[in-house]
Symmetry: D2
């Protein structure tokens, strides 16, 4: 199955995903600062949980882009089963 | 309940946590590059899941440090119930 | 969007899902017995985590059946976007 | 470390946990019926996610009971480290 790159969809989706990733990068640096400053562990844990939730949102945005784009295109061209199996494997990484 | 800072424990734990956070920061930048390069979405998702797993490990390391340190100290000084309730609230952020 | 029932796929998938659900039902009763018998909490928690993992597997099996069946059929008949949005909403229930 | 049973705490907690487990058992049977009736997969998935959330709540209730009970008692009697390590292992089952 020829791997389709993500350029099937308007760039706006990518920009949104990139902005979120930039914010997550900043949050991770913020947590590093909290650890260096010996901040209270529960406050650090709360920040880690927030980054995790933000990361899940990015994951869902990429999943949505992929399903609307590559998956839909592959199904319409008769290659649905292989790409759906691949989709399930990657969803499994997030659910387990 | 007087908030105890994390300095009850040897710095080695913090160093380990900081190294992991540095690695996660690098991984997040790597994912940004993959999005900019229009890499295949499933590969991007696999990286996001890896960062999520690494983040969970950091969370558990901080949770362990907190429980062995602040929670244990508070229980020994008779302030167990309040800090345990606080512990459950933060664990809930990771489980739900 | 006309809601497609699950009969697009061979019954074997449903039988497998039903067997797993029966086993989960038994496991839940087993946990009730452990609570009644005042068994050690960590042992009870280990069983709860096992049921959770089994439930996730059932969820993935149903998700797979749905994506190979209804989602694929809707995409081929030009109704892909609506059913994909619906798919993302339900995946979100499992990821968050 | 002598395994402490859960009878350190009033039975009310156990009753609440048992009621929730009974409800979960009924929900699982309800999902079986939905599969047998070939109900729409997304509706089945929504129910599975609801049972998962209910299971997490039971897990947290047992975790809370254990931490307030056995963990607190073990820490006060100088056996904190071993039971905290055990606590982290079981929390890890729920987070990963």
């Amino acid at each position: 199955m020829e791997r389709l790159t993500g350029d099937l969809l308007p760039n706006e989706t990518d920009q949104k995903i990139l902005r979120r990733l930039k914010r997550i990068e900043g949050q991770v640096r913020g947590i590093q600062k909290m650890v260096e400053d010996k901040r209270y562990c529960v406050d650090i844990l709360t920040q880690i949980a927030a980054v995790r939730a933000a990361l899940d949102k990015v994951g869902l945005a990429v999943l949505e882009k992929h399903t609307h784009g590559c998956v839909q295109k592959a199904i319409k061209s008769g290659e649905g089963d292989a790409i759906i199996d691949e989709l399930m494997d990657v969803i499994n990484l997030f659910i387990k």
